[in-house]
Subunit: 123 residues, 2 copies
Amino acid sequence: MDLDGVAKAFVDHYYTTFDTNRATLVGLYKEDSMLSFEGDKYKGAANITAKLTSLPFASCKHQITTVDCQPSGPAGGMLVFVSGALQVAEGEHPLKFSQMFHLMPAGPGNFYVQNDMFRLNYG
Amino acid sequence: MDLDGVAKAFVDHYYTTFDTNRATLVGLYKEDSMLSFEGDKYKGAANITAKLTSLPFASCKHQITTVDCQPSGPAGGMLVFVSGALQVAEGEHPLKFSQMFHLMPAGPGNFYVQNDMFRLNYG
């Protein structure tokens, strides 16, 4: 498996979905999925999606700077580590962020997000 | 197990060791450990330690801003996600960084670093 290719495809898909229709991110999470968002913790696809869709901006745009990935172990998972910038309103200064995902297999060629940790990197 | 407590203890130990005697970090890695450092990949405790000890600064000081952690799955691992600043010489401007570790059990109460990904967050 080309891990770097899978990681890049996931990252493209995740942030494009986030920026166009956040509610549909629910399909990437499962009941055992965990999100840490600026230190607050959420568990399960429904709670995670509720948090993401309640963020106080109507539209946003992620720009990705770096994507790193490594296999996470014998269970076939992969770790994806992202840095980038997030613009939450036209004309606003982009906010730098870092995010890591632990993707686990969900059937042939498919992954779901088991772990998700997000932090803004304040200047 | 108090995951947050273990994560904080690991982070304190890791960066104190990094800032005082980088070569002894070798004991935290094993042969299957992986490091991605600014996009370059290293595998195994010896190669990882060779990279860390060859970084072009004699002394450094990490300041930690945030530590997040989550369990990584049934194998008993944990994901630790760190942000902070790194000062590589007296009087220099600190560099912001993000780093993630995947810790796996290595005997009762012990963990080793299976995955390590480091990125500077350029302003």
